[in-house]
Symmetry: C2
Subunit: 146 residues, 2 copies
């Protein structure tokens, strides 16, 4: 019988994240699988490439640093609640679907668990992420209707 | 803890179907859930609406009847293999994603299991079906990478 051995919960840091992580944790317990968590921050600097405005890049980097710190804090609280070790928490910068798929491959995850309609917002997973992850994911994908 | 109570396996009748149904059956056993199966046949007549060619509609209906019989036979063999009762086997005509979502709602299924890249072909689920099901499905969706 096929059992999952490594489950990757891909979450944003909205109120939907806890529901997704809870279900991923349950699946991991059911399957005796390792549980990792990834959340993605979209880099502001990518959007401004090529625009020469004094101070903009620095401001963007500051913003990203703050965004990352904020995300790591929220992620940390959630992960602690569900018993996910520090080493199994991942914050990536980039396009959410791409980073989720790459992280899953790097970790050797055989199931990605994510919400099916992530809230829109700066630095958060976009609503179309679940669809984009389906394209080219090398693992199974469980989308949770929150 | 959240447990699924009714799982709907949405399959085509290609070689991928057996793998998807096997995984759906396993999930149903794990969760103590009821298992239903649906497969969709795309109606030829929809594509020809408005075209006035003598005999075409009749020919298309013949084709559909044969397609349905063929699909029901293949589905029957698969379902028997996995212990799915006659009453829990569903063949629908229409747009696959729409019919899958409707069937799930009518049955009260809380998880849809399907392949993530169905083969292309007449009367079979299309490759983009998994994406389309995600849009508007009222249940969780597990896509299996076959």
């Amino acid at each position: 019988m096929t059992r999952y051995t490594h489950i990757l919960a891909a979450i944003d840091v909205t109120e939907e994240a806890e529901a997704v992580l809870m279900r991923a944790k349950q699946a991991a317990d059911d399957h005796g699988a390792k549980l990792s968590v990834v959340t993605i921050v979209r880099p502001l600097t990518q959007a401004y490439t090529g625009i020469e405005v004094a101070g903009l890049a620095a401001a963007a980097m500051n913003f990203e640093g703050e965004a990352r710190a904020s995300v790591e804090k929220s992620l940390g609280e959630l992960c602690t609640k569900f018993g996910v070790d520090d080493a199994d928490r991942h914050v990536q910068f980039g396009v959410p679907a791409t980073e989720i798929k790459q992280t899953a491959e790097q970790l050797g995850a055989d199931l990605i668990v994510m919400g099916s309609h992530g809230k829109h917002g700066l630095g958060l997973l976009l609503g179309s992420t679940a669809n984009a992850v389906l394209h080219g994911a090398k693992s199974d994908v469980l989308t949770i209707r929150v």
